[in-house]
Symmetry: C2
Subunit: 344 residues, 2 copies
């Protein structure tokens, strides 16, 4: 577990997309973010108090989160120097970059000398078991997608919040670096060795007997030829009772693959149900989460209504319209069970 609260690092960044991990934390966990660290040339802000390292420690911060991604995910000289200064001031350092903190001798030496901890959240824990597919108790929901980066983490977090707001026990289970920093724990699934994909998820979301829900963050897409192996192992390991399909209606090509079309929603839902059935024969789909940020309000609502009508499932933009309609369907499966009877 990574010690909280966090100081969020922006550094010298001027890349609004590159700071998405820091922003994800500021949006979803403002309760554990005491401030942001940025140099004078950084034009960005997360709307948090700007702080130096000593100031952040005085405000209670425990860990500096390097929540930025430069090209290639490397650890530049500026990040190294700032991390050393942060440890000298009393902060641990956590990073989701491809380059590992533990591979930089100066950081390792400083951590040893100052007694601080380095967290490489892209490093899977050791001793991940091989998956078994054996039935386990509990209620599990997995988000899936027509493509990568269509809002699976965001939707999963919104669903967890909405279920908690109804008094249910509901835990977000993170499978990517931003999600892991938000949850304080999780498995960086894209970095797990291939034989252990489903086993890593069985370990992340073990049997639970308390009537609560595990909401598991999806990765990739069965229709993305780069990453469908990860998505397949995740479906099998999650043993989901319920799927929620995430989609970006403005996306014309699969991410990173110009010319490759996205699957249709109905086709994508059917394929995901089919794969999931191997370990969860009763799996059902409870709704569709759209990212309608490219559409006007009226257009977005019309699109959701049309998809609801076509697929006989709740369809919503979690950011704009909340996820209550999907939570209703998760908890009261009448509608999707009827649909599954027709479609499968």
């Amino acid at each position: 577990m990574i010690a909280t609260p966090y100081l969020l690092y922006l550094g010298h960044s001027s890349d609004d997309i590159g700071i998405k991990t820091s922003r994800g934390l500021a949006v979803f966990r403002p309760d554990i973010c005491v401030g942001e660290f940025r140099h004078d040339d950084c034009p960005l802000t997360l709307g948090l108090p700007r702080m130096g390292f000593a100031e952040a420690v005085a405000a209670g911060a425990r860990t500096l989160v390097l929540g930025i991604a430069n090209a290639g995910g490397t650890l530049g000289e500026d990040l190294i120097e700032d991390s050393i200064a942060a440890m000298e001031a009393g902060l641990d350092v956590a990073s989701g970059l491809h380059s590992r903190l533990k591979d930089e001798p100066r950081l390792v030496a400083t951590a040893a000398r100052t007694g601080r901890t380095l967290h490489d959240v892209r490093d899977p824990k050791p001793n991940i078991p091989i998956g078994t597919g054996r039935f386990r108790a509990g209620n599990r929901l997995l988000t899936v997608g027509t493509d990568c980066s269509v809002g699976k983490m965001y939707t999963t977090l919104c669903l967890a919040r909405a279920m908690q707001a109804r008094g249910l026990k509901a835990d977000f289970r993170a499978t990517g670096q931003t999600g892991i920093l938000i949850a304080g724990d999780g498995v960086p699934l894209d970095a797990v060795v291939a034989d252990f994909i489903s086993g890593a998820i069985e370990q992340l979301s073990p049997a639970r007997e308390d009537g609560g829900w595990d909401l598991i963050e999806g990765q990739g897409s069965l229709f993305h030829p780069s990453f469908a192996g990860v998505s397949t192992g995740l479906l099998h390991g999650a043993q989901p009772d319920v799927l929620v399909m995430c989609h970006d209606p403005a996306r014309t090509d699969m991410r990173g693959l110009p010319g490759r079309a996205l699957p249709g929603l109905a086709e994508c839902i059917a394929a995901n149900l089919k794969v999931a059935q191997l370990t969860s024969p009763q799996v059902r789909i409870a709704g569709i989460a759209l990212n309608t940020s490219a559409l006007g309000e009226e257009e977005a609502r019309a699109l959701c209504a049309r998809i609801e009508d076509e697929l006989a499932l709740p369809c919503t933009d979690p950011y704009r319209m909340g996820v209550d309609a999907i939570v209703d369907e998760v908890l009261n499966p009448a509608r999707s069970l009827a649909k599954a009877g027709e479609a499968v």
Copy 2:
């Protein structure tokens, strides 16, 4: 590339199944195996001349292959001592064990001192690309299976041999440690990081324009909940023109998962074609390879005939009956295309 010819290690082993990598080499590559090394307490033999290390070097051997697997895949004291002696005598050492040679300081020190090379064939090469799914030229065949360990490597090697015997260019592309030692090259797919499964296969079997075939060794099964992610990425990366389904009719439960039934052949073929279509829309199935070793001759032939009739595809035991019927179907797709028209 690993230097050949090989000296095959049996050591102190009395486990007939544990020496399967050494045996695979003796069976498929007798041309590159000069002898076997075993201690006096080893009751097993591969039928090769028994040799000490110096004797093997004198006979031309270049590499000692630790083609055995003890429980856990660990590198015991006896293997370490024998490997050191082999290097002192002038041999490189290659291993497919989980435990890596490079993690044993005594082996690393001896290799440095003697100028020998250590080969951990379970270590993927660095810089594997992310898969793209983009169309590439060439003819590619992939073996798939109803389960793990149902003869995919064996079948793939037999198909390569049979095609070569017909004067065709045909190359075996290895994806497991035994296959890699047989071919001298390949990718240990189960050890690749999850995001790179399909990319590793695109790299292993690149575009070819010479009219020849790549015969790609399959792994796992879409119906094995531990490893289906690997199988999925392999199907996408292989971009196969042709699949061959491997099956063990004596198997009652999925390997390692008592109580989990195997899929039916028709169901398994349909699922593999469906997944493969993402990167190879025209993919077809060219036959079924059975391991009938548990059956009598007559029973085996009757079973193949029945499956041929049911699925309208060639069905053969490669060991007993050869693979000519499948090669015919690979090269002349009339029959399977007709079938695909009905089934898909």
